[in-house]
Homo-oligomer: 341 residues x 2
């Protein structure tokens, strides 16, 4: 207790002096890494407590080569730049990872900027990279440094890196498309995001394959995740007008789904009667929109739990697994894809 801000921290040397022993004895008494007599240990502990000694983590890490800290890098640009609304996905993943790390009593560092030399680099023993891009540069950089990395979702160019937690999109996306087809959709438009990550790539691949199998012409377009809500209607408007308008839309970014529903309404199209609508991530917007919008829940809490587990296993020297961990997203069917009979 007590003590004013800015005062010099207590060092091991001071503890040693006070306890009347050498600094190595202090180190060993406190760490228990070699036998020290009970009496000495007690004296050292007492001195340390009285002085309020707290070992300097930098000195320790410099010596041992480990910091006990894990880094976290969230790749998608919009995660940081996005509006508060858009932040839900980000918050959910970050919050889950932080919670899981706290449970495991390991510090987590949000890595500010790997490439900017003006930004101090970060003392981490390993790093979780979430939603890497295809051929991700940050990922390559870390791996190049020899740092143990675990990814949340795979780098789509390196899908088989074993230290990863992946989402198994195909069955879920197919289930969604089949559902739309069952509801009568014959002209499904896919609006992907522009970030080149697994979340945009895999569902698109599945969609194209599905269209081919069903002998339906694929229709795709892009809608950047970074758009402001105000931009969406005018981009979507043209897609909804004309005789060849789609009868179903699957949009990646769920925050845009309600805006699409509104645009449709402005053209006299009702959801789900005239247009089926689904999103590839879940959010409050999707749930509370009227009508509620069918969405794929990426189960961030589960992703976080497994990623942390994998990272800590890797740091404890576990064997390289044969393949990534696969999790299945949850399809949340709601009114927006349920045609009233």
């Amino acid at each position: 207790m007590g003590g004013e801000a800015g005062k010099r921290p207590v060092t091991i040397r001071e503890v040693a002096e006070r306890a009347g022993v050498s600094i190595s004895t202090v180190s060993h008494a406190l760490s228990g890494r070699r036998p020290i007599s009970a009496a000495t240990t007690a004296r050292v502990r007492e001195a340390a407590a009285e002085l309020g000694y707290d070992p300097n983590p930098n000195a320790r890490s410099l010596r041992t080569g480990r910091s006990g800290l894990v880094g976290l890098i969230l790749r998608p640009r919009y995660a940081v730049a996005g509006t508060p609304d858009r932040a839900e996905t980000f918050n959910r993943l970050v919050g889950s990872i932080a919670t899981e790390m706290l449970r495991r009593k390991t510090g987590l560092i949000h890595v500010p900027d790997l490439h900017d030399p003006a930004v101090a680099s970060v003392p981490m023993d390993g790093c979780i990279v979430a939603h890497p891009y295809g051929g991700d540069t940050a990922l390559a950089e870390l791996v190049g440094r020899g740092l143990p990395v675990v990814t949340v979702e795979e780098d789509p160019e390196q899908p088989d890196l074993p230290w990863a937690v992946r989402l198994d999109y195909p069955p879920v996306v197919e289930a969604l498309l089949d559902h739309l087809h069952d509801q009568g959709a014959r002209d499904v438009l896919l609006l992907s995001g522009t970030e080149d990550n697994a979340w945009n790539r895999r569902p698109r691949e599945t969609y194209l394959a599905w269209c081919e199998r069903r002998a339906l012409p694929p229709r795709t377009a892009l809608l950047s995740e970074g758009l402001t809500p105000g931009d969406v209607p005018e981009l979507v408007q043209p897609l909804l007008s004309g005789p060849d308008r789609p009868d179903a839309i699957v949009v990646a970014t769920s925050d845009f789904a309600p805006l699409i529903a509104e645009s449709a309404a402005a053209q006299g199209l009702r959801v789900p009667d005239d247009l089926l609508l689904a999103a590839l991530t879940d959010s409050e917007h999707a749930r509370t929109s009227i009508p509620p919008i069918t969405a794929m829940d990426l189960t961030h809490e589960a992703l976080a739990e497994r990623a942390v587990e994998l990272m800590l296993a890797r740091l404890s020297g576990a064997e390289t697994p044969d393949r990534p961990v696969f999790l299945t997203p949850e399809l949340r069917l709601r009114e927006s894809t349920q045609r009233r009979k």
Copy 2:
């Protein structure tokens, strides 16, 4: 690129050898902290790039005494132990702080456990402590170490510490109580949480003062934030039965509000007709409950922004402010307190 995991990191010494200069020249060429000829600088940069040199952050911090990292400690127990549902508040604050720190290009560390000696301590230049308890031990510990601390909400026992972002509860809680009174409530029950922090203390104080001013008998009870949803109904049931049941309830934890509405319904009481209901923090549960529940939004995004701003100012040597920063929570009036005429 390239390079396999586990290989020894490149040190400044190797860069110096490769560039054919001394290590101090490398240091200065890279940091620009003293004039080095353009030719030498170029050679050094090239050598560093070829080798994939990344300065060891521990060595640097040990030397300079600063890590460029800020810690974050979230005090409420339920923040970590809570259910995924309860995590919304936590996620929102953590996500906002992380986002804000990333914008400011400063690393953020979630501090795992300050007291557990088995947990490595953390190299932080300062620490944000969110929602401290009355006479908070972690806060005292950090201050005792001389570490610059900024709090999100105040330690209720030390309300005047200037390095804090506080919420100005009284006017908002009064507005809520007045609103309930306007809607006919004459017997308002306050269900506080059990965490001894500002969020529980301040509204309670305001409530008691308000009751006295209105000459109404105060009625309060506790409902721990850590309860599982299943526990709530049986605890609330007795409060809702009998002739002296309240005609309005203000419950701190917003996740419990819908459960209280259900308990009321089970006893034949409708919200808002027979019972007004409001919560002291906002959440998806409150917004999407039927009816939607009036709640106080703690504006975590704003809290985060100001706290980060304050911390970085403090670390840059800004003067101690005269008083804490005050923010006003937002009252979200919804159907649960709107009596149908």
